[in-house]
Subunit: 460 residues, 2 copies
């Protein structure tokens, strides 16, 4: 029997002393309300983005961020703090210039996609072939792009659930390999974003083994619309200089800390976010706030009393460039008994919905979450919860999860751009996130219910 139940029982027997019940350790409502005054998450977010700044996977800056993270977790009182390194290919940005040639000569603003090939130091010139959507590019005849530069647009709209990232993001994820297979010398895509600033959105693109990478870059949204206007007037030739490089194997790593539980047999509750960021901004909303929110919530539980289950906080490395940290963690720790895993990786705007993927034995937790999260303006969604890139490898083992869905209405204005900086974090909304995560951890880490495997894995 855990402490919380003992105390709840004590409180029930002591009706004249409601103050005791309200301050009972791991009472989700009390912890939630106290977390609305949290400063820990802001402190982590501000410190990491200021003292380290950008922290591209496998670079010296990411290594500094790991040291920073380990120091911070120790200072906060976490146990078993360690850095677990792994090797991965290092990709770094080079020059990136794009120029319209001819009568309307002008520069356009671009940034290389992660894993982009290179134009070589002399660049490439070619005629632009315009595709309004990725589907148009897919339907282009084989060989029809030989010597050309493909340009793919889309109509992504800001949505609260962020679902258009999945739908329109294909232009970035698979557009380059599709264009390369049809003979293109390079590809430009409209940034997968919802803003109108001259700050293009990077992000990984993927190459099947049989496709030779070409230079692939995103145009800032205003530049993408400029190119569309020029194309309406007639053919456009461009010169591109895009020279990123793969630098071979380099070291990345995960930073781990724990709040040890009282019942080693009850399994591990895994939470976290990713420590690495893209190189353009300082990775404030992607994902300093994710590590900050989950760490602050775990710290608040730690300070309130020992939970039944061990809470393990992981600051994953190398998420952006291919989820290397999550895979490395699963390889190292997949054999341990994880009963729950969830991450925060969608900024720090207000959480508005939660979804669950729980086994029948722990179905009651969903109602407890609804009660605890309702006062924060968070309602229960019907779909099956999935996880982010970092925890997916663990979730694949039929591990239970709860997804706390942040508003995505602003997220893709800044995501993967130079604009992902501290000023985009709203301290009030950040605290609401910490409150929701604290209440969730109080319920899940302390549940008397057995949390066994789920029937099937949800999709993020």
């Amino acid at each position: 029997m855990n402490k919380r139940i003992l105390l709840a029982a004590a409180a029930a027997l002591a009706l004249p002393l409601p103050a005791l019940a309200q301050t009972a350790p791991l009472d989700p409502a009390a912890l939630r309300d106290a977390a609305l005054r949290d400063d820990i998450a802001w402190d982590i977010t501000e410190g990491l983005t200021t003292e380290v700044g950008q922290r591209l996977a496998a670079t010296e800056a990411e290594a500094r961020a790991r040291e920073w993270g380990a120091r911070k977790l120790k200072a906060l009182g976490f146990q078993n703090v360690r850095i677990e390194t792994f090797k991965m290919p290092l990709w770094v940005r080079g020059e990136e210039k794009a120029e319209v040639l001819g009568a309307s000569a002008q520069k356009l603003t671009i940034t290389a996609l992660g894993n982009s090939g290179t134009t070589g130091p002399k660049g490439v010139e070619g005629e632009i072939v315009y595709f309004p959507t990725i589907a148009d590019l897919q339907m282009a005849p084989a060989g029809s792009l030989k010597g050309k530069i493909a340009f793919v647009s889309h109509s992504m709209t800001a949505t609260q659930d962020g679902s258009q990232y999945g739908a329109f993001g294909a232009a970035r994820r698979s557009g380059p390999s599709t264009a390369a297979a049809k003979g293109a010398v390079a590809i430009l895509i409209r940034s997968i974003g919802t803003d109108y600033h001259r700050n293009p959105h990077t992000g990984v693109t993927n190459w099947p083994k049989d496709v030779k990478p070409i230079a692939a870059a995103a145009l800032a949204v205003p530049d993408s619309e400029q190119l569309e206007r020029l194309l309406k007037r007639g053919p456009v030739r461009m010169k591109l200089l895009i020279t990123p490089e793969f630098k071979g194997e380099a070291e990345s790593g995960n930073v781990i800390g724990e709040v040890p539980g009282s019942d080693p047999d009850a399994g591990i509750v895994l939470v976290g976010g990713h420590l690495d960021s893209w190189d353009l901004g300082t990775g404030a909303i992607d994902d300093a706030t994710g590590v900050a929110i989950t760490t602050a919530a775990a710290k608040r539980i730690m300070d309130a009393g020992q939970p039944r289950r061990t809470i393990r906080v992981v600051w994953f490395g190398a998420e952006e460039v291919g989820g290397f940290g999550g895979e490395a963690y699963a390889k190292a720790h997949g054999g341990e008994r994880h009963v729950f895993a969830s991450e925060s990786d969608f900024g720090a705007d207000r959480i508005w919905k939660f979804t669950v993927n729980l086994p029948e034995s722990a179905a009651s937790l969903s109602d407890k979450l609804a009660v605890a999260l309702g006062p924060l303006g968070i309602s229960r969604g019907r779909d099956l919860a999935g996880g982010g890139t970092d925890v997916e490898p663990i979730l694949r083992g039929k591990v239970a999860t709860v997804a706390l869905a942040q508003s995505g209405l602003r997220y893709f204005d800044y995501h993967h751009t130079p604009d992902d900086t501290l000023d985009k974090v709203d301290p009030v909304q950040l605290r609401q996130n910490v409150a929701a995560w604290t209440a969730t951890l109080a319920i899940v880490a302390n549940a008397a219910e057995e949390i066994g495997p789920v029937e099937k894995t949800g999709r993020e």
Copy 2:
């Protein structure tokens, strides 16, 4: 007696036919309402920013913009269309990199101020000396910045009347020369802007003859706040590479077109905006919309009937870098009888106020303007109207003016940044601008009143 008065008299005699009065040529109200459906200003703004793009003073791009402008004015039916060239010093941007050194090594986003000196190709390193305001810098002891990099911040706030640009802009205009005089090797200023994007705001700085220019650059607002946070933690050393160059004398020019008036003795009504832009954006709100609005208004008058006074539209060259176009115009045309001059150079958001500087003989025009502009949500202000940089040299000759004040609440989010692009122009507000200018021109160009010299010149 001019046509409008004849027609008004005819209308007064023909009360059963109010439709005639409503469609009388140069009826300000009818012209105003028709202009709310204007497409001319959008067409000019879209065309110039798309087909030419950036058009830094005295560059090849600005020359293309002049050709574009002359073609457009001719196509619209303006008379006496010509390009009047002049010589001026050409300043061009070079490399611009800023790096924090040491334990928090990271790059910050900067852009050189216009007329900035150079660090030389090897760059400079130095300790940052922080000044919260320009006043703090001014109070620093002589020689106290020897070998250091000055950093000046400020607290500019968005205002409807844009007045904080004058107040806080001193950090940019005179901060560099003040820092240089005290021995600084370079200066960084917080961008004179109100946004939170990684797009720094350029703009000219001025050097007295006895001060040797140093490298001077603006930090993007998020980077400026980042540097302030780092300074709170301890001393900061930075490395700067800022290599703009003066390229000697080059050609700029003004583009001029006219709507000839019926009464050559009634004087010239001068309106316009500036054709050049900074090199970072496409100069949509600064100042493609200015030339577009004033040209569209003049065109609408032209199509409605010949005005009493000649309306001269000027697309001034080289405003941004020092007002060379306005000075060249005054030198060439100052001897002609200008009775009115006004320009649009504050974007294209909704006009909310008008102010006047009129002689006693034409004081009645102010009431007519109040009647014509009121339905557009424009109220009369009490202060004396001044003019923008381009028309100031003419206004100094005690020439009358009306200032149509646009809302500045968004303007300094984009001003002088890469973000000054077409998407920032709201077509509905643009039309309101055209309507206000059309009504104003209908009243001023056609006034039966003599418009003589004013008593004193207002300040912008």
